[in-house]
Subunit: 305 residues, 2 copies
Amino acid sequence: MLKVPDHQVAGHQAGDGKLGSLIDDSGRFYKPLQGDERGSREVTFYTSFSSNTRIPDHIRRFFPVFYGTQLIEASDGSGLLPHLVLQDLVSGRLNPSIMDIKIGSRTWAPQASNDYIEKCLKKDRETSSLPLGFRISGLQIYVSKELGFWKPERTSFQRLSADNVRLVLRKFVSSNTSAESDSEPDCSFASIVYGGSTGILAQLLELKSWFEDQTIYHFYSCSVLLTYEKELALKGRIPGAEFKLIDFAHVVEGGGVIDHNFLGGLCSLIKFISEILTTPDECTSKASPKDSGENRLWSGNANNE
Amino acid sequence: MLKVPDHQVAGHQAGDGKLGSLIDDSGRFYKPLQGDERGSREVTFYTSFSSNTRIPDHIRRFFPVFYGTQLIEASDGSGLLPHLVLQDLVSGRLNPSIMDIKIGSRTWAPQASNDYIEKCLKKDRETSSLPLGFRISGLQIYVSKELGFWKPERTSFQRLSADNVRLVLRKFVSSNTSAESDSEPDCSFASIVYGGSTGILAQLLELKSWFEDQTIYHFYSCSVLLTYEKELALKGRIPGAEFKLIDFAHVVEGGGVIDHNFLGGLCSLIKFISEILTTPDECTSKASPKDSGENRLWSGNANNE
């Protein structure tokens, strides 16, 4: 009844006897609780958030539905383990294009331990988090029935320069994206995925308004997960572009202060996406890889899972 | 002809044979150039900014006028030294209330040296920069003709909790502020200093709009300097509330990315000021000092200069 998800792009992945998340056929996602405080903090967050009457409905829809916790057989065969039971965000999708973007130039809370801060700061400096205020931490783009998905190695996209992050964000909404292709992304679907009154940009701007005001939670190391169905876009239909916030193992109380770290990173992502919509013709003018190291991203193999 | 400024609240201060800034009678402020790269970066910034045609006038007014550099006799008697020649921001003010607020949870640029990052990070963690996204780094509040200014020790207000930052921001616009006073700040002038169509909040929101879009500069360790004339407010007149951005020794090129660090801190400050305007009756409900260490701020002596 439980199985390994087809479309997980980041986080611990089950399979080959490893511990990871599982899904069922009814649209639920089972995430094993990390034994340390990360697990308890994520349960605390979901419990608090799901019962908090100050969260408006138009914001609540950006979070996965929480069904509680449940003891289930762990994917690594180690026996019964408590799992968060959440909404499976790609249930009902056939071939979802997915991007996981970790928001914030700082992935650690002020009250974290020195060791943890040092570890995170090192990674924030090595990746695009520090300069851009976010980093892409998971990616799969549907190419075609024959070629399946383009799913580059995780390590290849976390350290991208601004220009190459721009290029990935453009490839994400292009009809001519494939591992082999060196062609300029055509941004065919930018206007229906990022743009429009119900597109990703409009949704992110709603989230931004809330973050300018809310002082309840600070979301360190949390991601926005963008999804859409490219096959629908290819057929000229509405591709169901949406995002959800995920990963709350490092959420802390806001203490009456806005989450300026998340908000800053969110505004930076909004600016990148806005530029794609306002300058579709300059699709790649700013997006030439600057060093050969970064070119590795563009030579990965399509991963037809 | 050149003299030590009466109303400097932060930065290196001249007097007693020390090197610091000077002013003249024509409204100019002479800031000695720091010999290391900080000096050259600040000159580079002012030179670039003053000739940059992409800066709209309604934003340019938030920056001091730049008159170039000039060799003048240093205040410490060490001989001729190059100085930045800038607009004296309190020229023409009689008894200005002034607050210097350093913006950003991070005061260091990604490309800074490891030693510099370590030093700044330590201070950002010790002060309110990291939790609040800004720290008060200079303060004088006019009390009365008899008592002069309340000018607490610099070290006393950099480490304030959110509650006590809120309290300082309220005291700044109150008629009953004095060193001796334990009374609740009355926020008498909040609506004419922070509020209104030309008040500080409206100005900060204009600046925020620009920061959501501009990708030219990143302003690390830069301050907003709020000023107004309390005596005018006491007489029911318009108190000339305004702010300027100052201190550009750590400005770097934006490289096509918004300054998410400054923007986040600015949004946090905006939220604090908005709350004072929207809940004037709860003037001090959230503002009870939580530990005795912080109470030291409230027992400083009035400094009648």
